[in-house]
């Protein structure tokens, strides 16, 4: 089990690291808009046959008044490679013939690195909060933020960080659609 750092453990939650809490990235407009084709491919791939996604007459008669879109679907729009960018896949394999396919593609709106010597990263958990369904035609905006950074001590007595990054997704009207958070352990 982990515990809070004790005085004799060398802390990794330095003032410089602590200062990153609340740091935000740029507000970025995702490429493209929410469209019926992406909605069809996504809902088929997640295997959700809900007619609220494709039966316009039925969707209009519901509580939501229109075709709805799974909020988490727009979160994947942030990883789209923009048309004006170079071909990231070809570039990834040029740099590393044994690339994992995603390479080191730089995404817009990324946060600055945490100033720590700890390099090993493990996924510690995810969260999603949903407030409104996106609609067809919406333009999606997203903004990264360091939501929280904590220190814990592992069984080996060494301190490590739990870093939580948050992304807020809004539409062209500034309406909050959803928030996702990802926590990672850095040790």
């Amino acid at each position: 089990m982990t515990q809070e750092a004790q005085p004799e453990t060398q802390s990794v939650l330095t003032p410089e690291v602590q200062a990153m809490v609340g740091v935000e990235g740029e507000l970025i407009e995702s490429w493209g808009t929410v469209d019926v084709e992406y909605l069809r491919r996504f809902t088929q791939a997640v295997m959700d046959p809900d007619p609220r996604y494709w039966d316009e007459d039925f969707a209009k008669s519901t509580h939501y008044g229109a075709i709805i879109v799974p909020p988490i679907m727009v979160s994947y729009m942030t990883q789209r490679i923009r048309p004006e960018a170079e071909d990231a896949i070809t570039e990834a394999f040029k740099v590393n013939p044994v690339s994992d396919g995603i390479g080191s593609v730089k995404r817009p709106g990324e946060l600055p690195d945490i100033p720590t010597h700890l390099v090993r990263t493990l996924n510690a958990g995810n969260e999603i909060e949903v407030y409104q369904y996106p609609n067809i035609g919406d333009t999606i905006f997203f903004q990264n933020k360091y939501h929280d950074i904590r220190e814990r001590v592992g069984r080996d007595g060494k301190a490590f960080l739990i870093i939580t990054r948050e992304i807020k997704y809004t539409n062209q009207d500034g309406a909050l659609l959803c928030i996702t958070r990802q926590s990672s352990i850095r040790r």
Binding site: F42, G101, G125, V130
Partner: protein
């Protein structure tokens, strides 16, 4: 009445798959409202059963433009990453959760929030059981809040995505849940 999770886990994959409760389009169209008063602590939600194949994984990779080779390139996955096969996406698992909560709260409830961790890796050939058990309920601001533990277990009982969620259901004689959703303030 859903099959209890502990009973499902004693069955072989074919019998688990036969107890899939994923709703059809018509069932979702005609779904009647579950109200706050209908739910009790300890209740189990319906079980969604999945049997992913390599083609399902490819379809997901294409849909969200995820080009990570571990999900479609068996040679790379086995020999570079030393994985037991191509892997089911964490992103797919975490996209199933909001759907599961949405279905439970339809037509007028709200699938507010969920949190989970990605644990065991999943591969084609696994039979996956999405489950949830109600742990707490309370009223606030004229709405009914239901808290639950949830996850995605394999046929061997391995938990691949331990988590929890809070959804909002209308009270039987209460007002509609506001849309867009606004949580009540303290």
């Amino acid at each position: 009445m859903t099959t209890k999770l502990e009973d499902l886990l004693k069955m072989d994959p074919a019998d688990i798959q036969a107890r899939n409760e994923r709703p059809s389009a018509e069932e979702l169209r005609n779904k009647t409202q579950t109200h706050y008063e209908d739910v009790n602590e300890g209740d189990e939600l319906p079980k969604y059963i999945y049997s992913p194949t390599p083609t399902h994984l490819f379809r997901w990779s294409a849909a969200i433009e995820n080009f990570h080779r571990i999900h479609y390139d068996l040679d790379f996955g086995l020999n570079h990453d030393k994985n037991p096969s191509i892997l089911v996406h964490g992103s797919w698992k975490q996209s199933v959760v909001p759907q599961y909560l949405k279905d439970f709260t339809l037509p007028k409830g709200w699938p507010w929030k969920a949190q989970f961790e990605h644990r065991a890796m999943l591969v084609p050939g696994d039979t996956l059981i999405v489950w949830a058990i109600v742990t707490n309920k309370y009223e606030k601001g004229g709405m009914g809040f239901i808290e639950m533990d949830l996850g995605m277990k394999t046929q061997d009982g391995v938990e691949s995505m331990p988590g929890s969620a809070t959804v909002v259901l209308p009270l039987k004689d209460g007002p509609d849940i506001p849309y867009p959703f606004v949580p009540p303030t303290d």
